[in-house]
Symmetry: C2
């Protein structure tokens, strides 16, 4: 049997997992691995002659059929991948940022070169999502995705909820445990989830979504009091990546915290687990859940992609349709201000007669119906905490309200998922 030859760029935890797990398959062979430091001690035993510190040794090696890129970041990864494609290699990558920012160029180049780019590991780690959407779900018109795509933020929110702890305290603990990075910005401000939903929406809608059109809001302002109020009202707070598309190709794609009804499966996805809920016709609704990161789950997806190429690589003409990410159209962006949502609003108001009436009448003037309004006692400073859940209303209008509530302090404004 002719073995397919793999070049690996990056031998961190995922790369090591891939190297170890691929050993059992006799139709694939990793022949070269690019690392930063050849002499660094490693947990995986690799023959020294396979190591190089120059990725161009791999992407320019004519004997290599598939380049597996596991280094992350846009540059220099993008240049390695471009060179590899130009040299006729298939690509397997876990690089969500590159896919979100360079996807269009990347897939155009792959098409021109008649090669595939597979990236199951880049979106939702070990959960099978990309391959199912491209193959067994291909007969569907998918029009909605709601997902938990970032393990770090889901860990933090779950812990805040379970322990009644503040964001800052849980972040610190998560950093100590290695669940959050020293600079957590990429996770907690929603960039990571935004990269992933950009590509997932693009492939699901079969219409390109541009990263710069994805609305993004992180979890740093969520208070432990919000967690508590949400629970009392029948919700959990989660960082939700969502995407919807209408018949006119208008795509509303975003990442922000949401109150998720406890009756919804996403409310029960806890700690570092990820989950993707997909709706479409004729399928209806499906939910795919599992580990969103980690050495082994990510390795599972990378290996799945490598084996898919290995089993069919001799027939590139036919391999391509099933595995290609081709988009004839670009989706029209929808501005967040023009969207309709339900909102959770926490207000600290002076305990004066008529404050509830005032909130009610300001909302009515903006055409906003209230689903519930709860005032809990009066504090020592003679203020009251008022929690409002609205019906669906225009984002622009709710923002105006927030500015017009004179004398009141707005503690939180969080969107609410419909039940």
């Amino acid at each position: 049997m002719e073995r397919i030859k793999i070049g690996l760029i990056g031998l961190g935890t995922v790369g090591s997992g891939v190297y170890k797990s691929l050993a059992q398959f006799d139709n694939v062979e990793i022949t070269k691995i690019a690392v930063r430091n050849i002499n660094k001690p490693r947990t995986v035993e690799v023959p020294t002659e396979k190591l190089t510190n120059d990725p161009y040794d791999i992407v320019n090696d004519s004997s290599i059929n598939v380049v597996v890129e596991l280094m992350g970041g846009v540059e220099p990864a993008w240049d390695y991948i471009k060179t590899a494609l130009e040299n006729g290699k298939h690509i397997v990558t876990a690089n969500k940022e590159l896919l979100a920012k360079k996807g269009e160029e990347l897939f155009k180049l792959a098409e021109k070169q008649n090669r595939v780019v597979l990236y199951e590991a880049a979106i939702a780690g070990g959960i099978p999502v990309i391959m199912p959407v491209k193959t067994i779900l291909a007969g569907n018109k998918i029009n909605k995705i709601q997902a938990i795509l970032n393990g770090t933020t889901n860990y933090i929110l779950t812990k805040m909820d379970a322990d009644g702890a503040s964001y800052e305290d849980v972040l610190k603990e998560a950093q100590e445990l290695g669940y959050a990075e020293a600079d957590p910005t990429g996770d907690v401000e929603g960039f990571d989830a935004a990269y992933k939903i950009t590509t997932l929406a693009t492939i699901s809608f079969n219409s390109r979504v541009k990263f710069e059109n994805v609305y993004r809001e992180g979890i740093t302002k969520i208070r432990k009091e919000d967690m508590q109020r949400a629970n009392e009202l029948g919700y959990k707070i989660k960082l939700i990546a969502s995407a919807t598309i209408d018949e006119n190709n208008n795509a509303d794609v975003r990442v922000h915290p949401m109150l998720v009804p406890k009756t919804h499966m996403l409310a029960h996805i806890n700690y570092v687990t990820n989950s993707v809920a997909i709706s479409g016709h004729p399928i209806g609704n499906i939910v795919l859940s599992g580990p969103g990161a980690g050495e082994f789950p990510t390795a599972s997806s990378v290996i799945g992609d490598i084996l898919a190429i290995a089993r069919e690589w001799k027939t590139t003409d036919y391999l391509l349709p099933m595995m290609r990410c081709k988009h004839n159209s670009t989706a029209n962006p929808v501005k967040i201000d023009d969207t309709y949502n339900k909102y959770y609003l926490s207000i600290t108001a002076p305990n004066a007669i008529g404050v509830i009436a005032k909130i009610g009448s300001i909302c009515a003037s903006k055409n906003i119906s209230l689903s519930s309004i709860v005032q809990k006692g009066v504090k020592d400073d003679n203020t009251a905490e008022i929690t409002v859940i609205t019906e669906k209303c225009l984002e622009k209008n709710i923002k105006e309200i927030v500015n017009e509530l004179e004398g009141c302090k707005i503690n939180s404004l969080i969107r609410v998922m419909e039940g």
Copy 2:
């Protein structure tokens, strides 16, 4: 573009859904449809010249590339499929009973004929399971499956739980709503789930599981009192299809009711939704949930299979490895009596001094540890209801206990899923 020609056997709800949904794809065409009665009025408009009442018109038609079998049952479906394969056609089927009972012969014949048999719709309806296991999860050693694979029984159990109603009452209601058939045996006695887990375990373990070795127990003996006790103890009762395999190729495959801890995702799969939890290495645990039946979800899977063939049908040599169900080994069966499980036991005992001690000592004599034992009040007839949850113990031993509890009435013995 050369269109792939499809022959459809069966034009019921699923067949109609497939016919309607395939119209939008220009690389496939349904050219002939076998129905029982050509003149029957239908919800879908089909040109009369496409209809035949003889399936052999389809399987013997040399212009047809793919036969889609949606009639169900072993005979005569098996003869149609055999003939179609012998005539060089690829097969797409939703026939779980045929796969469970004739799978070995079927896949051997397909291999000999160099054709594929795809069957995503046969297991868990619209949920993508079979294709992911064969493609993106192919790098894994899957060793455990726990699943809810039958919508009718899950509907009945969910309703019993929600309404505090008896099995008989809910079954009647489910029959009126069309969720259960007039003769519900195939669903409520676990045959349907057993067919599905036979094939799902076979493909996941890459080792053939024989239907006759699948232990099977239905839900007809579950009492509303069991539902209530389970809830109090932190569980929900579900009909679970499970399969595990060890390193020596011993496969324990079964369908029976279980107390599922509320912390487990399967406890929250309600009404007609299905769900498949898969464990393996390197993936860890994933859970795939969605509609397990119905016109549209099932059509989604059938169409996914048809499109997979349509996109690659010119290259059968290469199509086969990825889509083939090939097993070099047959799994060794494990007898239910030799398995270790936790148990829920409901006992009605005479309210005599020392009855709890008696139960405890009988259990101890069989090496069975108790996890909890609860006695609730005393009834008018001077009996007490005692609920026991055991630690893991040998099935053979728990059965012996049940026989040795003299003077006690055993209301229920149900296995308990580990948390």
